[in-house]
Structures are given as C-alpha cells and as structure tokens.
C-alpha cells in the first residue's frame, strides 16, 4: 500500500461505492467549472492569431499592455477607486456595527434592518439611484444646493462620485462581515481597560482598534477585491466621465466591434493576478486569526457602552446617515418610477404620479423575460450549488486529507475570480467548442453556479461543523448506508442552512451583473442586464420601476423563506 493509503480497492471497492461515486462526480464537476474556463483564458491571453494565420503563443499581448502609459493610468484609477471605496465602506459599516453591538443606542433592530436593506436592491439600480441624486444637472442633491445658492457641488461622474457610490454599496456587506467579529469580542478586555481608568475614547483607541485590526484588515481586503472587480459603478458612473478602470476596460474590449477578445483576456489576467494575490493574503490573514483573542466564543455577557448624553444625538446622526445612504437612493428610484418623465421631486410633481412606467414594463417582453430568466436560472443554480455544497462541505468537515482539501480549494477559487473574468472565460470557451451553449440560459446558469458555489460551501461547511460527527456515525452503525445517512440524518439537521443558502443564491442571481453582462445576448438576459440596457437606452423611469419590482420580489422571497425556516435568512448570525 502506498503512503497515502490510496489504492484502487480503497477508493472504489470497500462498500463505499455510492459515497465515492457521488464525491467523484462532484469533484469532476467542480474541476470542470473552475479549471477549464481559467485555462481557456490563459490560453487566449498568450496566443496570437494573425488574420487567416496559425495560432502562435507569445507574451506579446502582455508586453504591449505593459508598454503603454495608458495601462498604468487605468491601473492607478482601479487602485484609487478600490482603496477609496473600501475605506468608505469600512468607515461607515464599521461604525454602524460598533454602535449597534457595543453601545446603548436605541432601536438597534431598526438600524440593523435599515443598514442591510440595500441587499434587496440590485447594485445596478443603486448606482442609477445615485446618478439621479448626484448628477451635475438633474441630481436631486445638486438641485438642493443650487436652491440654497451653493451651486452644483456634487458630481456623480467623477472619481469621488465613484468612490462614494462604490463604498456605500458595500456597507451592508461590511456590516455582515464585521458582525461576528464584534459579537465574539471578549468584553472583559474592554472592561479591564475601563477598570484601569481608561476613558471611553481611550478604550476605543487603545484596546478596541488594535484587537479588531485583523478583522478590519480582512474586511478591507475583501472590499478591495470586490471593488476592483466591480464593473457596475465604473460603467454607469465612470465611463461617461472618461474614467477608465481595469474592469471597464475589459468590458469595452469585449463589446467593441469586432470583439477584441485578446486584449480583454490580457487585462483579465492582470485583474485576476491582483485579486488572486489579495485573496491569498486574505486567507493567510484569517487563518492566523486564532492568535487574536477577539475571534470565536460566544455567550459573553455583553455590556453595552453607555453613551450618556450623546445617546440621542448619536442616534439622530445614525438616522441621518442611513437616510442618506439607504433612504435617498430608494426614494429617488421610487419617485422616478412614478413620474411620466424625469424630474426632481417636488410638491407640484405629486399631481403627475402615474403607474405608467409599470404599465410599460408589463408590455415589454424583455422585462418579463429578464425576471423569468433570473428566476429559472437562479432557482436551478441554487439547487445545484447547494447540492454540490453539501457533498463538498461534508467531505471537508468529515474527511480531512489532501483530496478533500484540493476539492475545497477548487470550490473556493471562484471567490477570487472576478465575475467579469468568469464571464469572459466562459464566452471564449463556449464560442470555441461545438456545443450550442453560447447565447442560451445554460451559459448564464454555468456562470451562476461557478460564482455562487464558494458561498454555498461556506454555509454547508459551518453547517456540518455544527453537526456532531457521532450523529452520522450512529446512523452508519445502525446499518444505514452513506447515502441514507446523509438523507435521513444530515440533510434534516442541515435544513435551515440549506434554505438560507438556497434563497441567498437566488438573491445573488438578481444582483449578479458582471458575468452576465458579457454572456448575455438577445433572449437570455437575466434581470440585471435588462435593467442596465433600459438605463443605457435612456428609459430611466422604466428602469426605476423595474428596480422597485425586483425589490418586492426579493423581499417576498426572503420573508417566505424566513417563515419556512423559522429563522433569519438575511442578517448576521446571532
């Protein structure tokens, strides 16, 4: 027998045939989903095909890219945008979490709900909402500042505008990520410092910040990755102002006629290298998190910091902030959706309210198809994602060996691959194989499964970690086979987790745009792409109405899911 204990008999013939078959199939699917597209992408970026000539391999694409000043300007823009918006997100999200978790501000539930609410709004529409607020000519906020004689001071189509909007879009995510870190923080540390006579501000500066630093660093990194791969804000806000970033550059190269796949792939590789490196660093950072006392553990007697006289002013500030970053964009979208033509909110405008935009939606086959497509693809992708995730999560929790680690790593890889890059890779792949997949819903489905798999695996991983292995072993001893054990013991115990993952995946389907944007053609556009096209085509009222409809769909989905699961679907783990 070899050192790893792997022999043909060991893998296939010892009574675990079903188990090994299921695991084998999942491993093959995951490998196919992750490895193939990336391979094709690298292949494309390295190949040169002169018109009518043979394909040759060279690094010329990269030399060309690195030899241009333009590349560095784009790179610089990307970094400024990503760094700026992650800081904005961390600052706002971090303070909100801290206030809700560690202080005695009133109406915590309300603050939390409000902070998370933007998750129900597809980012493309939030971005549109911000344009309607910050546009130099018609932006509501500029109209207000003009009215009080300050002139038009905001500009959505600027780097500052992009940073602000990109940051605000990530606030709910920061809120979710930082929640557990704050919840697990041992208040004894704070209390000890307070007993030593440190004043509140000092406690925050000397104890809280250093302890939370790794968590902040991790969130900052994740934010940075999400921002640098974001394509929505750069094309809605950046392109009109001529501010190009890596992501928009890839998009432009892709939609150029004729499509410049080679350039797009070279830029994609550059973007991929950046996100991969950051993701790697992120894993290192969080793997060492055990060293810090802050993480883990629960049930601490959480004593809230008393804000005293500052309590109400702080609360008012929080309301104002949430009103600005959550309320206003929603309001302007709602308002615009009810107006027959674009105009700033006013009392006079109230008389014009009509459901015209909604009626137009009903008459627009593309709009209905978009929602239908997203539901079909989202539900079926959610089903497959969670099925794969159950097997991979089980494998990772119950059998820790090189095989399970490899599969887990593969399944986790897409988290570091920008959606844009997945979209591009899939389009190259399926344009070049003789399968009729390009232009169908199937290709969108493949992109969804690939992109959302890591989150599914994360969920089932923590789900299985909470199911004592002896519960499964008792079933095996009771003469249940592996499949029966999973079906009758693990799945029922995992139930709520599975439902959460299912609904979360569908929500992500509504929000997804970066991969779909490159993959959709007439007929297979999912929701976000249709919404973007409406905006792009100048149908602002209709786009806004479309956003409100999606919002309602998602709220209904989550409320129903919550009701079935009997627990929170969206929201921090308690």
């Amino acid at each position: 027998m070899n050192r790893l204990g792997i022999t043909a008999r060991n893998v296939f013939g010892n009574g675990y045939a079903v188990r090994n078959l299921v695991i084998g199939i999942c491993a093959i699917i995951v490998t196919y989903l992750v490895i193939f597209p990336l391979f094709v992408l690298f292949n494309e970026s390295l190949s040169v095909v002169p018109a009518g000539g043979e394909r040759t391999y060279s690094l010329s694409g990269f030399y060309e890219m690195l030899g241009q000043w333009r590349t560095y300007r784009i790179l610089m823009n990307s970094i400024i945008y990503a760094a700026g918006s992650s800081l904005v997100a961390l600052l706002i999200g971090g303070s909100l979490v801290w206030l809700v978790q560690r202080t005695d501000i009133p109406a915590k539930k309300f603050v939390m709900l409000f902070a998370l609410f933007p998750l129900f709004m597809p980012p493309v529409l939030s971005a549109i909402g911000w344009v309607l607020l910050l546009d130099t000519n018609v932006g509501l906020l500029n109209v207000v500042t003009q009215a009080i004689g300050l002139g038009s001071i905001f500009n959505a189509n600027s780097m500052a505008g992009m940073i602000w909007v990109g940051g605000v879009l990530e606030v709910p995510l920061v809120f979710l990520w930082l929640w557990p870190a704050f919840a697990a923080m041992n208040p004894a540390l704070e209390e000890a410092a307070a007993i030593c006579g440190a004043r509140s501000i000092k406690v925050i500066m000397t104890i809280l910040l250093p302890i939370m630093l790794p968590a902040f660093g991790a969130v900052l990194l994740i934010n940075f990755i999400l921002s640098i791969e974001d394509v929505m804000v750069p094309i809605v806000l950046g392109l009109p102002a001529g501010i190009n970033v890596l992501a928009s550059e890839i998009y432009i190269a892709h939609i150029r006629v004729p499509t410049d796949t080679h350039t797009a792939s070279v830029y994609s590789v550059l973007l991929l290298v950046i996100t991969m490196a950051l993701a790697f660093y992120y894993l290192r950072l969080t793997a060492n998190a055990d060293r810090y006392v802050t993480v883990r553990g629960r049930g601490f007697n959480q004593k809230a910091l008393e804000l005293g006289r500052a309590r109400l002013p702080v609360f008012a500030g929080v309301c104002l902030l949430l009103g600005l970053i959550v309320g206003l964009p929603m309001f302007i979208l709602g308002w615009t959706s009810l107006m027959p033509y674009l105009q700033v909110p006013s009392i006079a405008g109230l008389s014009l309210i009509s459901l015209n935009s909604y009626r137009m939606l009903l008459d627009d086959p593309a709009a209905l198809r978009g929602i239908g497509n997203t539901l079909i693809v989202g539900v079926s992708a959610a089903f497959v994602v969670m099925s794969l995730a159950v097997v991979i999560g089980w494998l990772q929790v119950r059998t820790r060996n090189w095989f399970s680690r490899t599969v887990d790593m593969l399944a986790f890889t897409p988290i570091a691959v920008p959606g844009l890059v997945i979209g591009l890779s899939l389009s190259i792949l399926y344009l070049n194989v003789p399968l009729e997949i390009y232009g169908t819903l199937l290709i969108i489905w493949i992109a969804f499964v690939t992109r959302f798999l890591p989150y599914g695996v994360r969920l089932t991983y923590s789900g299985f970690s909470q199911i004592h292995r002896e519960l499964e072993e008792a079933a095996l001893i009771s003469k249940a086979g592996w499949f029966r054990t999973i079906r009758t013991i693990s799945l029922p115990l995992l139930g709520p987790t599975l439902l959460v993952g299912f609904i979360y995946t569908i929500l992500r389907g509504f929000r997804e745009i970066s991969a779909s944007l490159l993959l959709s053609s007439y007929g297979n556009e999912p929701y976000s792409v249709v919404a973007y096209h409406m905006w792009d085509g100048g149908e602002v009222g209709k786009a806004s109405a479309y956003g409100i409809v999606a919002l309602c769909c998602m709220v209904v989905l989550v409320v129903v899911g919550q009701w079935i699961a009997g627990r929170k679907v969206i929201g921090p783990e308690s």
Partner: protein, 365 residues
C-alpha cells in the same frame, strides 16, 4: 468473539501512533473493558473495530468474520459489521422522537412495521423509558438520552455492543445507577460488551476482563482482581494507584509463593505476576492501605523501619499522609478516627515506626 491482531493506526499528519501493535481477544458474552489514561488510543481502537476509522495494519475479526484485513485489503463499512455502539455524546438524533431514534436501526434492517413497534417497546421498557416513546429527543435530560442510546443499541439484538465512555457526561450518582443497569442488561441479554473508560472504578465494577492501555499498547490484561493484586508493569501498578515505589533485588521465594525481595527498608514478601529468579532487580509497589504505623516487632517479610511524617492531608473519610525514610517517599492512608490515624497526626514532623504489611513487585526496566 472479537479478535484483533497486530493492529496499527496513525492519523495522517501526526507522528503519534494511537494504536500500536495491538492484539486482543474478547470472548463471547464477556464484558471487556479497555482502561487507560486520556489520549492512549482507546476510542481509536473502538472506532477501528466499528469501522469508523481505517487502521493501517493488522486484522479484525468479529464472530469469525474478517471485517478488516490490511493484507487482503478488506475494510467493511460499519453497516456491514454485526455490532452496535453507544457513543460518548449519546448521538441521539435531535430531529426525531425517542421512538424514531430507537426504531432507526430496525428500519435500516428492513424489519416490518409491526416488528419494529414491538421491538422498540421491548427495548424502551428494558431501559425504563416506555412512557417517553413520543417525546422529541431534544426534550430529554442527559440521563434519559443515555438510556435512549442504550435502547437503540440493544434494539437490533446485536451480539456485540461497543461502549465509548458512555457515562462520562453524567453526574456521579447517575453514573453509579447506570453502571449497574448496563451490567444488568449485559447479564440478561448476554451480548459481548467492549467498554471504554478512563475510570478505574467503573472498569473494575463492571468487567469480566480489563485491558489497561497506554500509548497505543495493551500493558496489562486480566480480571479486575488479578490486575489489582498483581500488576505486571510499572505503568499498571502506578495507574491502579500504588503510590510507594521502592527498588529491590529478588533473593528467593517463600512457601506460599511470594517473592522475597531485599529493599533498603528491609526484606519484603511480594505478590508477583511473573516469576523472577534470585538476583533480578525489581520495583516493589506498596499501596496506601498496605503501610501502617507499627504495632510491635517486625514479622518475616513485613519490615519495620523508622520514618518521618512529612505531611498529613485531610481527605474526608480518610487522611492521606506522606512519610520519608532516607530518600524514599512513603504514601499512606488511614481511616479517620482509628488509633493509627491519631498516631500519625500526633507524629507530624516527627519520627515514627512504620511497617509494610504487604506489597507487590514488577520487574524493573
């Protein structure tokens, strides 16, 4: 019968060998206990037998069926091995009722509804839980969960039941009750029990045979009384609580088959497991109850010597004391209120005559 021969098991990524060349034979109907300190590989051994862990080397046979053999590359999964198991965590499925929990193995065996109902009622009655059949499992107390686990294990009428520290999560009083109940079940149903514990009292009070394990190896094997009176190794003697250790040399043998051992404290007659020829170096182990304040003159094999009482510790029913003779520490224990107890307390930090009344010896390594 369970036969284990030359079993090895290591975990990937760890150098320690939790099961190291282990061979055992467990007779039908025996109550067999693996006893050993934490981390010595008891659970690992049990899990290998159950098929939950794959050993590296060796062979395991259950009732004549080879369920694992490294040579033949055979490793039957748990559901193909004729045994049931009671887990340390009880492993009661929280999404089922008591009835469903106990019925599960029967269902998996494909028994008919009617048979299942009868069998579950029978086993729940045996463990005294007949009235709780419809209770959802999360609403049970620890002791009740333990009984459900027992009922589930006996419901299939398996001939072999494995127990992995089933009582370690219960409070002391309940533990004693459950101990006698498990024992009674064993007497009644006559299954072969393989029981794992680190509690010596538990092991001795329940078992027909006990194997003492350390670092993946069986160090001692025998009936509880044999192990207690004649340990075979330093580890066994110390693990079973002999606290005074004196080195000596064998000088001969008495008529009633005790070894005559010469020690710095005098000549001691020792119980022994294996025979040792004169001249062998041995360690003499004296239990706390075998060392007393002297009442008079030395007898042959029970030397009297002078020592100084260093410390006296009040424990409850007894006092534990430590005396010193030269560089030898002597650990004794006296019943509270007895004359010798008074004597010891009076002589704290003073010299006193002590006597070793009996002892055992093991070969020194």
């Amino acid at each position: 019968m369970i036969q284990i021969s030359r079993l090895y098991k290591t975990y990937p990524g760890s150098k320690y060998t939790p099961v190291d060349d282990l061979s055992l034979e467990i007779q039908d109907g025996h109550f067999f206990t693996l006893l050993g300190p934490s981390g010595c590989g008891k659970s690992t051994t049990l899990r290998c037998i159950a098929g939950l862990e794959r050993p590296d080397q060796g062979e395991i046979k259950i009732n004549g069926v080879s369920v694992f053999s490294a040579e033949a590359g055979r490793n039957l999964p748990p559901y193909k091995r004729a045994l049931s198991m009671v887990f340390q965590s009880y492993a009661i499925w929280p999404h089922m009722t008591v009835f469903q929990n106990v019925a599960y193995p029967l269902k998996c065996q494909g028994q008919s509804r009617e048979d299942i109902r009868k069998e579950v009622a029978w086993s729940l009655d045996l463990v005294g839980l007949g009235h709780l059949a419809d209770r959802p499992a999360p609403l049970l107390s620890g002791g009740e969960q333990q009984r459900v686990a027992l009922a589930r294990a006996i419901a299939g009428r398996s001939k072999v039941i494995l127990f992995d520290e089933p009582l370690s999560n219960l409070d002391a009083k309940l533990r004693e009750t459950m101990r006698s109940e498990i024992r009674a079940l064993h007497q009644q149903l006559k299954f072969t029990a393989l029981y794992v514990t680190h509690d010596q009292e538990e092991a001795f009070s329940m078992s027909d045979m006990v194997a003492i394990m350390n670092k993946g190896k069986v160090r001692e094997l025998g009936s509880p009384e044999e192990l207690y009176t004649t340990p075979r190794s330093e580890f066994g003697a110390e693990f079973l609580g002999a606290r005074t250790k004196v080195s000596g040399t064998v000088r001969g043998r008495t008529d009633d088959n005790l070894l005559v051992v010469e020690t710095p404290l005098g000549v001691v007659h020792c119980r022994h497991f294996a025979d040792h020829p004169p001249g062998t170096s041995v360690f003499v182990y004296v239990r706390q109850s075998e060392i007393l304040p002297s009442e008079g003159a030395a007898q042959p094999g029970a030397p009297v010597f002078s020592a100084r009482i260093d410390s006296v510790e009040f424990v409850g029913d007894t006092i534990d004391w430590v005396a010193r003779a030269g560089d030898i520490a002597l650990h004794g224990r006296s019943l509270l209120g007895r004359p010798d107890c008074k004597k010891i307390r009076e002589h704290l930090n003073e010299a006193i005559d002590l006597q070793i009344v009996s002892a055992c010896c093991v070969p020194s390594t």
